[in-house]
């Protein structure tokens, strides 16, 4: 079994805990960048069949390293600087409770990983499914419980990272093509969201999404 792969997946699991307990925006963005880098290194650690597609793996790896590890976090940082957002996150659910909830969700992910039979049959690491599901639920959880528009973008990014972990780790056939498409989507989305957040900020002087609930049409 591939040790490097398991190390990366273990690190991703711990990263989820760090993400929900991070209280500062910049720190949170840095963690997302680290997640992107780890995700980029994932194809390198996977044992894939020697059928001459190595260059494809390398291409996806470099693209996701550059985009998820560098470009997107930089965009997020740039937006936070531009709109002078308050540095502290304002969580709806407290940090310690968030940790416990994520722990419970991770436990559920491990349980699902042991139930779903594909993991073992596929020859993939038994850790892939738990790590992917845990990251996906972390992303969703962050989207729900953090009030800033920018943390919702981050939550979406983490969610998408989880999907990529699943695709890369399970070595899904033709997954790379899907991966590239997703990468493009997410890049466009963060770009658009950055502009949207900037505009929300200009009209409301803050990016607290709670005030958007009261909007009528």
């Amino acid at each position: 079994m591939n040790e490097l792969l398991n190390l990366i997946l273990g690190a991703l699991l711990v990263l989820n805990l760090l993400l929900v307990s991070a209280s500062r925006l910049r720190h949170c963005i840095k963690l997302v960048a680290i997640q992107g880098v780890l995700l980029g290194l994932l194809p390198l650690a996977c044992a894939h069949p020697a059928d001459g597609h190595t260059w494809q793996f390398l291409l996806v790896m470099f693209l996701s390293l550059i985009i998820k590890g560098g470009l997107l976090p930089y965009l997020l940082l740039y937006t936070t600087r531009r709109i002078n957002v308050r540095r502290e996150l304002e969580p709806v659910v407290g940090y310690s409770l968030s940790l416990l909830i994520i722990l419970a969700l991770t436990g559920g992910a491990f349980w699902l990983g042991s139930v779903v039979p594909t993991a073992v049959a596929h020859g993939a690491s038994p850790l892939v499914l738990p790590a992917a599901l845990s990251t996906i639920s972390t992303g969703l959880f962050l989207m729900v419980t953090r009030r800033k528009a920018i943390t919702q973008v981050m939550g979406f990014l983490i969610f998408e990272n989880g999907v990529s972990i699943f695709g890369t780790g399970m070595m899904i056939h033709n997954g790379l093509l899907v991966e590239l498409g997703l990468l493009l989507d997410i890049f466009a989305l963060v770009f658009i969201m950055g502009i949207a957040v900037f505009n929300i900020n200009r009209s409301f002087r803050h990016i607290d999404t709670h005030s958007l609930n009261a909007l009528g049409d």
Binding site: M1, L7, Y95, S96, L99, T106, L127
Partner: protein
């Protein structure tokens, strides 16, 4: 794995004699990092020698525990010393379940100190005791998660076998899990021994003290006992981390013994470096951080469980 009891006894002797030296190494590293010359490596021994020659003054309002606490703590730690497999040699005193005995001996020592601190009736000591209890309640969960991980990985309840067995080859995710668990054990060691990101052993302000606030009223040999037990505890917990990282089939016992000592002093250097470059956390942050450590330890446990083919059946 070849066994040589001679190296275990040598390891025990090293723990008893060199424990204060580890404190000296930490202080020296810290001084080097900030560009001072620092106290001599042997300074902790001089301090102990000075304290043991002095008379002992105890407050008159105490009803007893103040006087017993240092003795109880020292004897609990002297017992705990017997159960670690130094240099990966099985301890002759080991029995099934001694991991729990070990953990609760450390707990007993802490309990004695806390009772002693409450006995003085000083508000600072009460505050220190309260903080100590709060943080140790959280670290205990993490410590037992780590012990659970070790028990599961080595299929044994015996601390010696847990820490000295070779890396179990039937668990595919074991390296990731061991690294996680050893990291958590290192954090537990920092909290239990009041090292920097969690507590500052050199603070002079009672309001910010945790461990130091509890021993304000001790003097002379009593204080010497407490300081020596603290040094012993630091040695034990560092040895625990080193033993987790060194698999038992790495080298012959003699080489392992040297690696063991080198690892512990390297641990001292790492602690000193952390203390030199980082500030302590806010008190409010600590419970959250410790909870995170507990969660990570549980993940390490989950990694082992999943590796063995899924399930606790």
């Amino acid at each position: 794995m070849p066994q040589n009891p001679f190296f275990w006894w040598a390891g025990l002797l090293a723990a008893l004699l060199l424990a204060p030296l580890l404190l000296g190494v930490i202080n020296k590293t810290k001084a080097c990092f900030v560009g001072r010359q620092g106290p001599s490596l042997l300074q902790p021994y001089y301090n102990l020698h000075k304290l043991f020659r002095r008379g002992c003054i105890r407050t008159t309002v105490s009803c007893g525990p103040l006087a017993w606490a240092p003795g109880i703590e020292l004897s609990a730690l002297l017992l705990a010393v017997l159960f670690l497999p130094y240099a990966n040699q099985l301890s002759p005193f080991a029995f099934a379940g001694d991991a729990f005995f070990f953990a609760y001996l450390l707990g007993l020592g802490r309990f004695a100190l806390i009772i002693g601190a409450l006995d003085t009736g000083s508000s600072f000591e009460g505050m220190g005791a309260s903080r100590e209890v709060q943080f140790s309640a959280l670290t205990e969960g993490a410590l037992f998660a780590v012990i659970g991980f070790l028990a599961f990985a080595s299929r044994s309840l015996n601390l010696s076998e847990m820490l000295s067995c070779p890396l179990p080859s039937n668990i595919p995710t074991v390296i990731a899990a061991v690294i996680l668990a050893a990291g958590i054990a290192f954090i537990i060691m920092l909290v239990e021994n009041c090292r920097v990101p969690f507590d500052d052993p050199e603070t002079h302000l009672e309001l910010t003290m945790i461990h130091e606030a509890m021993i304000l009223d001790y003097s002379g040999p009593d204080l010497g006992f407490i300081l020596y037990s603290a040094a012993l505890k630091l040695w034990l917990m560092t040895a625990l981390v080193v033993l987790m990282l060194l698999p038992g089939d790495l080298a012959p016992p003699g080489v392992l013994f040297i690696l063991h000592l080198l690892g512990i002093f390297l641990g001292g250097v790492v602690i000193g470096a952390i203390e030199a470059v980082s500030a302590r956390f806010r008190f409010l942050k600590l419970p959250q951080f410790l909870l995170g450590a507990l969660c990570t330890a549980l993940i390490a446990l989950a990694l082992t469980v999943i590796g063995t083919g899924g399930g606790l059946q």
